[in-house]
């Protein structure tokens, strides 16, 4: 499996930010078995990175690798959409497992 490179933009340490960080880490740990890099960027501290990546809303996840690049906006509470967007719901056999795990996580 390709190594995932993810960037997560947040604004300060709000509860929404923390929820997004925790959810993303949990999903990645479960689905990518540690094969990922996650960079968390606080736009209040590094606005120039937000400018570079043209980020508007927070939280925003950018999947930089593998291609295609993709963006997810929101606190990631809709886990099924997050996984779909990260191409982690590709195989039908894989899907039910994910659903189960997500439920567990909630």
């Amino acid at each position: 499996m390709d190594r995932y490179v993810l960037k997560l933009y947040i604004t300060g340490l709000t509860s929404r930010s923390q929820r997004a960080v925790a959810t993303l880490q949990r999903l990645c740990d479960a689905e990518l078995s540690g094969q990922y890099e996650l960079l968390v960027v606080d736009v209040l501290e590094q606005p120039e990175l937000a400018e570079q990546d043209k980020v508007l809303a927070t939280p925003t996840v950018i999947k930089e690798h593998p291609e295609p690049q993709r963006r997810i906006i929101g606190d990631l509470s809709d886990a099924a959409r997050v996984l779909a967007a990260l191409d982690l719901l590709a195989s039908p056999t894989h899907a039910p497992v994910t659903e189960a795990r997500v439920k567990e996580a909630d």
């Binding site: 933009y9 604004t11 300060g12 736009v43 809303a57 967007a85």
Partner: protein, 507 residues
Amino acid sequence: MSITKLPTEIHGFDLIACGGLPEGRVTLVAGSSGSAKTVFGAQFLAAGVMVREEPGVLVTFEETPEDLRRNFRGLGWDIPAWEAQGKWAFVDVSPDPGEQPVFAGGYDLGALMARVQYAVKKVGARRLVLDALGAYFGQFPDQHTVRSELFRMTRALRSLGVTSLITAERGDEYGSVSRHGVEEFVSDNVIILRNVLDEEVRRRTLEILKFRGTDHLKGEWPFTIVPGRGIVAIPLAALELKQKSSDVRISSGNPDIDRMCGGGFFRDSIILVSGATGTGKTLLSTEFIAGGARAGDRSLLFAFEESREQLFRNAAGWGADFATLEAQGLLKVMCTYPESTTLEDTLILIKETVEEFKPDRIAVDSLSALERVAPVKSFREFVIGLTSAIKDKEVPALFTATTDSLLGGSSITEAHISTITDSIILLRYVELFGEIRRGMTVLKMRGSWHEKVIREFTIDGSGLHLGHPFRNVSGILSGVLSHAGAAAASSRIDDLFQDDPPRPPAH
């Protein structure tokens, strides 16, 4: 706390805004598609950089910075250079043509705010523009979030110490202020730009709907976009009537007419010559210029009816050598075809040429040619703008106006201008016993005695020559002639003229 104004340095706008935009506040600029909202916003920043050394930030929601840099080069703004000097920064929020983002859960616009704040701090911005909010609404599905975040942002802008403009699209020219109801967030100050189709002519206007807690001029003001300068607003009524009055006389270029006017025109007066086609209006303006040149005056002639060649040939036919005068720098002739441009642009062209050439005399032949290219409202504004601009320079100007009917009648031009002009000279065809003659009268000569009679005049190779006053004929001005007394056929013509009336003592 009183509200201070920040001069925008957008040409003419600060007069309408009584000094500029309310400093440190947010102003909404609303307009339909193509109403020059983006130009207005960008010019607010560009003028800040160029005139007042105030850095600015442009947050662009619709067009990319690349497009904007290229588009505004045409207006003479070198944005890349200003970016390099740290006087201008873009925050690029234009939509990504690539894949749409996936929305998964609640979000805020913290990143946008952080970027705006970062850019403002980076260049030390005093001015900020957000262009255009409509596109921004389209990027997010959750309108409730977008609205509340926008509200938060406009509050945050106030604390940044910048004077901000937000542009927003509106559907109708005369309807609700903006399509997305943005005004409720920035309801303190609202400016509306319009681009209305009026009698097949586009007419741009600008209106300050409100400036909370501070003053501004009311109503719609015409503006135009000039290459190399951008938006130029035309604040007609804002021009002050502060002209001094001169009692120095200048020659009309024709000694006979000087006598009729009691010794010539006043140095700072506006003279209207009105008459039907072929009565000699162009000749009068030619003599006005030639007479000026004899006294060493430099003249500026705007011709809207005839080409350069025609003008020069006509002048030569009356003994005036325009080509030599131009070569000597005593004359500048501007020939334009009125249909090729708008009145607003023509007015600005005239003002700029007057600034540049600094003439001692101005002639416009004819104003009526401009009448046909624009709605009446625009034409009236043009005439007022033109006369104010010329009076401001305190140089004499001679305008010609063509009447619609050959005999008698008045022109629309006269109706708009007659109260503004200092002198009015009427040229009329007079039909007498199957013969067409020409008559001239000085209808008005502000601040001076003038002849009240209607004199016959003739035109030959050396110009215009005044004869005797008409007698026993009435109704020349209205064009409905009647002859008093049925004299014998042989003495009829003699009876038409009387001896010169007595003149006032010479001073």
